[in-house]
Symmetry: C2
Subunit: 126 residues, 2 copies
Amino acid sequence: MSDTTDLFYTAHVFLCTNERPEGHPRGSCAAHGSVKLRDYMKARAKEFGLNDQRIRTQQAGCLDRCELGPVMVIYPEGVWYAPRTKEDIDEILLTHLRDGKRVERLMLLPTDTERAAFEARQAASA
Amino acid sequence: MSDTTDLFYTAHVFLCTNERPEGHPRGSCAAHGSVKLRDYMKARAKEFGLNDQRIRTQQAGCLDRCELGPVMVIYPEGVWYAPRTKEDIDEILLTHLRDGKRVERLMLLPTDTERAAFEARQAASA
């Protein structure tokens, strides 16, 4: 993997805004409110001064973890989050992007595939 | 940065399909044919057997390098390419994703901002 000097963005945040037809068995991030979260994320990143030339927050098409949506991934680290609320977005922006730490309660593991299991782990660690 | 065992995707390819209004001074990836390239990329990744659970090719919103579009970035490496043709897509899929090498002639440097300079460098190295 690259040294940060080789990177165009030191942090590149992709939030899925894919929409599937209503009733689709996998659901979709848009059906879970990701479009509003994207708008909020971009506005807040600007407010927090995080939208400089080395950090970018943006939308992406389907990240293929629909069951856990809304989902986002931060590269080059490859850290995934499942934000639900504006407060979740603020916490990710400030704790992860500004402070370089992790928001453990919102992090998805590579092994997470089902929302119920993810939420059970969240509840157990709360 | 993460060890690959911590990654959901070992290679996550984002091709910009953002469209700006006709005549916009920055241009856009869609105006340079990125939508067709995305469709081709996804179909070919499948044909080449590259669409397994650890590799994903997909579209993204604006990657903010519009002047160089169509642009794509492969994470977690953070390697950027400016593919123009279906042959370029094939070469990136096979050389980069399958063989783990680089397609130097299509790579964007972090310092690239203008299409003319990028194309001049390509021409000089051809």
